[in-house]
């Protein structure tokens, strides 16, 4: 199984979970059907024309119908965003396999899960809505609830216990480490340049190579650069995790982010940045580190609020081997690789586990707050949206591309604060993909259907799709695709003593052949040729024969033949041996030599010779011997 991501956009259908009692949210009117029927008014609330489920947010799980997940042997994880559904799989499906991921992926993945669990568990909600999920009722609901897919499979968030159990099933791997999977294939993680510890995977046998490219970046940010060279010579390259905002260049977006941040703060407003606790935030803090002095923002406090803020900032500093070269060299100086250490030291950046406690004492405005969750449905961000939403001096800047910012803002409407959308997605865009594919030259590319056509809203943008030769094979949800290659060969090892016994014969320059008589021993998908057992010595015959003593019969092999039969010389030989009335006919595959008198036909083709005569074994053997004269035996 390749990756195990969680679709969190389902949470956008739910009302936010406020940390502090919000009169506005608790007083929202219940929703009733057009005919005035109000049986859903406890479950569904209306806010500025949108309807939301008033319940604990639920998540859309990976497809479980198509395949019995208990039969999955291995899950390969690309990056920490792609493992958020892991507890659902490992704890509730009978999964008994192994999960492979790099250390930073596991550690930061743990932080993301911990934050998610914390955000949801700390605001217990007594009510659980399920009535609306009834199919007959769902179709009466307004969009987007009406169009939500597979709502019956939506689940509440997992617990910390489940997280811990899931993470215990992960086996840590390092870049370029080769991991044997049951002798059948070898898998290798490669740096993908997107996030700390993010990987692409190579899955290869001796003769086939499949690359799985997911969430990769060619930009120079904090992680180790992408390893492109190792992806070369792939039979199939499975490509996914491209940028979600192909029209937004991350550099331009960072510029927008900084400019809008500065403008707001200079006007005395506060800036709210809904974000994940790891990833782009490191780059944003680094960018701000360079920018705040030039923008005259040195005195403005930056707050990072997350239950895992401290761990995230500290973890980032210790994964030196997973960082880009510049940051790695800093470690040897020794200096912290990320400048947010200095921001913390100089008190410009302060981090808190939550808005409660120390934060309320230190809180000073105007300020910049980085906090989660980017969906605006849970986490400390909900509090700040409620607090600052009424003033047009404040700004919320969206940098995470995973959620539609308009949908995220819907339950906060009407909103006076400014909203800026600066999605920073460093993953590959289509130009970079095109360059990558030219460089790597896979025989076939397999990708989601969405990548093979321009986005629906910009159908003229032919540049926003994958353009490669041969055209990429695309797949859609729940589609089964046969990869375009067959396993034709298996590698077989020959034991040294058997190899020693071989006597190759050169049948043409550079090509030698030898016959091998051996036992093919197959175990764990490894094939070994072992010397044949010696003929059994006659023993007393009293010993009981064991099953393992069964040895195959070794028949004496007939010699193998090679070479070709020159027709003219063959005919001359036949004549010399008394055959007359010989006729030769050319066929598409070779020749037919017709011995009319003997009523016999010799069919000579590239890889076979047939002597067809009527019940005259003597004649056949004679002719066979004449044929054999022209061939080599070994």
């Amino acid at each position: 199984m390749l990756d195990c991501g969680l679709d969190m956009t389902s949470t956008l259908n739910f009302l936010p979970l406020p940390l502090v009692q919000s009169p506005r949210l608790s007083n929202l009117p219940g929703w009733s059907l057009k005919d005035g029927n109000a049986f859903l008014d406890k479950e569904l609330k209306e806010c500025s024309g949108h309807v939301f489920v008033d319940s604990v947010p639920e998540f859309c799980l990976p497809e479980t119908e198509l395949i019995d997940l208990s039969t999955v042997d291995v899950i390969l994880i690309s990056n920490y965003h792609c493992m958020m559904a892991l507890p659902y799989i490992t704890e509730h499906t009978g999964f008994t396999g192994t999960v492979y991921a790099t250390e930073p992926t596991v550690q930061i993945g743990r932080l993301l899960m911990e934050e998610l669990v914390n955000f949801i568990e700390r605001v217990p909600k007594a009510q659980s809505a399920s009535l609306w999920k009834n199919k007959d009722i769902q179709r009466l609901l307004p969009s987007p609830l009406k169009d939500a897919v597979e709502v019956s499979t939506w689940r509440r968030c997992y617990t910390m216990q489940e997280v811990n159990s899931a993470l215990s099933k992960i086996q840590l791997v390092g870049y370029s480490q080769k991991i044997e999977l049951f002798g059948a294939v070898q898998v290798t993680p490669l740096s993908s340049g997107y996030a700390l510890g993010s990987s692409n995977w190579i899955i290869q046998s001796h003769y086939e190579k499949v690359s799985y490219v997911s969430g990769s970046s060619l930009l120079t940010t904090h992680p180790q650069p992408m390893d492109q060279a190792s992806l070369k010579n792939s039979d199939v390259l499975i490509l996914t995790g491209l940028t979600q905002i192909p029209t937004a260049n991350p550099d331009g977006m960072v510029g927008e982010f900084c400019s809008n941040l500065a403008l707001t703060v200079r006007n005395g407003g506060n800036v709210l940045v809904p974000c994940y606790p790891s990833g782009v935030i490191y780059d944003l803090l680094e960018c701000l580190y360079q920018y705040i002095d030039s923008a005259g923002l040195s005195s403005i406090p930056f707050y990072f609020i997350s239950p895992v803020a401290n761990s995230s900032l500290e973890f980032s500093q210790i994964f030196a081997e997973w960082l880009c070269h510049n940051k790695q060299t800093k470690v040897y100086l020794p200096e912290p690789p990320f400048p947010h250490a200095e921001l913390i030291q100089t008190n410009k950046l302060k981090h808190y586990p939550s808005i409660h406690g120390d934060f309320s004492n230190d809180f000073r405005q105007p300020c910049v707050v980085f906090t989660g969750h980017p969906s605006l449905r849970f986490g400390d961000v909900v509090h700040f949206m409620e607090l600052w939403g009424k003033s047009s001096l404040n700004t919320v800047i969206f940098t995470e591309p995973d959620f539609s910012y308009l949908e995220a803002l819907a339950p906060y409407q009407p909103l006076a604060m400014k909203c800026i959308y600066c999605p920073i997605d460093t993953r590959l865009n289509f130009i970079q993909v095109s360059k990558l594919l030219k460089e790597v030259q896979p025989l076939h590319v397999v990708c989601p259907e969405q990548y093979t056509q321009p986005p629906p809203a910009q159908s003229h943008r032919m540049d926003l799709m994958i353009d490669c030769q041969p055209p990429a094979m695309s797949y859609r949800r729940a589609e089964v695709l046969a990869l375009p290659f067959k396993r034709r060969y298996e590698k077989i090892e020959i034991m040294p003593e058997l190899a020693d016994s071989l006597v190759p014969m050169e049948i043409k320059p550079g090509v030698s052949l030898a016959t091998v008589s051996a036992v093919l021993h197959t175990k764990d998908n490894k094939h070994v040729l072992q010397p044949p057992p010696r003929p059994a010595q006659p023993t007393g015959g009293k010993k009981r024969k064991r099953a393992s003593d069964d040895i195959p019969d070794c028949k004496v092999l007939k010699p193998l033949l090679s070479g070709s039969i020159p027709v003219e010389q063959f005919v001359q030989t036949l004549e010399k041996h008394g055959f007359s009335d010989i006729k030769v006919e050319d066929t598409a595959k070779g020749h037919i030599v017709l011995l009319q008198e003997a009523e016999t036909l010799i069919q000579i083709e590239e890889d076979s010779t047939h002597i067809i005569c009527d019940n005259d074994e003597m004649l056949r053997v004679r002719l066979r011997d004449l044929v054999l004269k022209f061939l080599q035996k070994f």
């Binding site: 029209t247 937004a248 260049n249 331009g252 977006m253 960072v254 510029g255 927008e256 900084c258 400019s259 809008n260 500065a262 403008l263 200079r266 006007n267 005395g268 960018c287 360079q290 920018y291 002095d293 030039s294 923008a295 005259g296 600066c422 130009i431 910009q458 003229h460 943008r461 032919m462 540049d463």
Partner: protein, 822 residues
Amino acid sequence: MDPECSRLLPALCAVLADPRQPVADDTCLEKLLDWFTTVTEAGSSLLLLQENPCLVELLFHVLKSQDLSSRILSFSLRLAGIFAAQENCFQYLQQGELLPTLFGEAGPLGGAAWTAPTVRSGWVQGLRTLARHPSALRFLAARGAVDTIFSLQGDSSLFVASAAGQLLVHILDLAMRGTAEGRCGPQACDWPACAQKVVCHIEDSLCSTATPQVTQALNVLTTVFGHCHGLWTQGLWVRLSPLVARLLEKDPVPASHSLVDLLLSVARSSVLSSDHGLWETLAQTLSHLSPTQAGPLALGILELQDCPQALRTQAFGLLLQPLACVLEAAAQAPGPPGLLEGAAGDSMTVDTLLSSRSACVGLLCCALAHLGLLQPLPQRPSPWPQVPLLGAVVTVLRLCSGSAAPTSDVGGRLCAILVGCGRVQRAALDFLGALSQGTSPQELVTQVFSILLEYLMSPESSSMVLKKAFQATLRWLLRSPKSPGCCDLDPHTQLFLRELLPVLQKRLCSPCWEVRDSGLEFLTQMTRHWGGQAGFRQALLASEVPELTMQLLRDPESYVRASAVTATGQLSSWGLRATPASPERPGAEQESLLGELLRILSTDSEGFPRRAAMQVFTEWLRDGHADVAEDPERFVAGVLQAASRDLDWEVRAQGLELALVFLEQLLGQRGSRCPYAVGLPETAPPGMPAQALQVLCRVQLFEFAFRALFDCDRPVARKSCDLLLFLRAKAAPCGSPQEAGDSPTAASAEAMLQRWQAGEQGQPLGYLEPGAVVAVLRSVDLEGLRDTLAESSDHVEKSPQSLLQDMLAAVGVLGENEADCY
């Protein structure tokens, strides 16, 4: 040649001829050759050689010596060429068989030294210099040198190859000048043998299948028609034009760049431009070359003063084709026929545009650049298709930004190629700016402002694209017509400004310093032109731009600080100050801009902001800025005090400029407007009121000027000298020299000045009484100083004598100068 040089020459020749004493510095040899050129131009070379036999000996020695460096060999060949340029000296050197040996097979030509490009270059340059007279032509023809020159045209060294081509042109010109002008027809029998040989070589090259040879021939011909204006060039063209035309029949046309250069060179030639065949060839060439290759030719044709209209139309159509294709491809529906209609639909252009990203970008950039160059020319095609061009360039910009949604296949592919292409964006914005000069319908102008705003707003715009967008916006804004009967901005501009200022505000906060800088430059220019317009003032003051500009005075990037200084200076000149801080923001009181700029002048570590501050101060003083007008004396004294200590000479020079403006204002109309023109007849009454002199003393202008007089940077010293000469002329009637000179202050000041002149500028001069100032002005030899300062700083070292001494000293022949090396 002066005797001292003559005396040093034998030793120098010995050094040059000695392989054990290599001359390390090539520039010495070049200077030496320059000096010999000057000497031979002024007098007889023959006499020079006779009086200095060491020179001929040097040349002989060079021939014999096997282990001389290639640079000395090259030098000698060039030197021989300089001497042999005079015919009698040529004969003299011929007699000694020196020239044939130097330039013939027996010389470096046949030896191992020939492998050095510098020797081949020296050989070509030597011949180029000596080929000035008929004897030289005979010499070249007899010795087979011309064949060697032919082969050197393809030399691996580009310098040698180019020099060889030029030498061929020179030989041809020299040979043809000998014939009676105008008698040379295209027939070979009319041509002198040497010229005939060169022309035959060119003919052979033009017929060659090897492109490099064709290129060489075309380059030689381009130089011929560009530099030789004899009537014989007509005959040459008649003879060679069929061969040139034949090149067009080949596919692809070989050496197309050189062919275009040649045809334009011929078309520009006064002798040939009336040739009808030429216009036909040009027309043929336009249609045979690919759109990318033909662009420069089309532009060249349109730049010609006299040219048939049909050809101009064809050339203009070709330049318009790429844009016409873009317009056609991006059209939502077939529109009314525009002026570009004739040019549209050319399949070759469409093919080029769609063949590859680089071809498309190259062709569009060239077309935009060519049209941009053509736009301001008086001979540009008329009527100029302003409207379709504007439409096309707006479309190109939309395609580049991804905001266009073409429905056609070609449009879709163009969009995919052009999206995000910075090169095309820059070229298109440049051209859009150029198109601001024409008259355009309001609807289109609205589109222009809309696309400009889109670029200025887009986070995808790179800093260079933004800079161009700002420049284009400024050009379009400044062309905006004023509302009739009103001195304010028209409503459209007003509306645009309201949208523009928030964008500018955001750009001034950009993390990219180049963007902040471009934004400030744009603001400065806009304010300079519109500072007095009520609409602009209102919009600007309602925005946060003035406050942000103030904050950028403390930007970490010095270029941005400098631009912020200029911008705030400009805003302040128009009374456009940052709005007072809101009561919600304590501690951000409005600072005095004058104080802030003085702080920058005194403490900024970089020169650019300090220079900008000085320029702002000078402008403020000149324009009577309110802050300055309060107390100009205090202002000038403060600025001069800060500037006098500045390490940047431009700041000090600007200080003198400020002093001059102050002086002009002090003297009012009575003073000359041009104090540096001290030689002009004094028409104005020469006097300066004692009161004025006292003011100058109080602001310590004299201390500043005297300190600048002995400045280590010559421009400052010269400027100060002129200022003081002017002051002395004005101050003369203020008191008698005796009277003032006797005062103790004057004596001590003079002593101080002497110490300053000696380099001890640590101590201040202190306050000087007007009388003392006049005395000091009299006592200092300002005229003498002015003359000394007028000399270039190396006037002593530049003499030939010094050159020879330096060269000898460098190899240790002049022992007494050895210490100079350290």
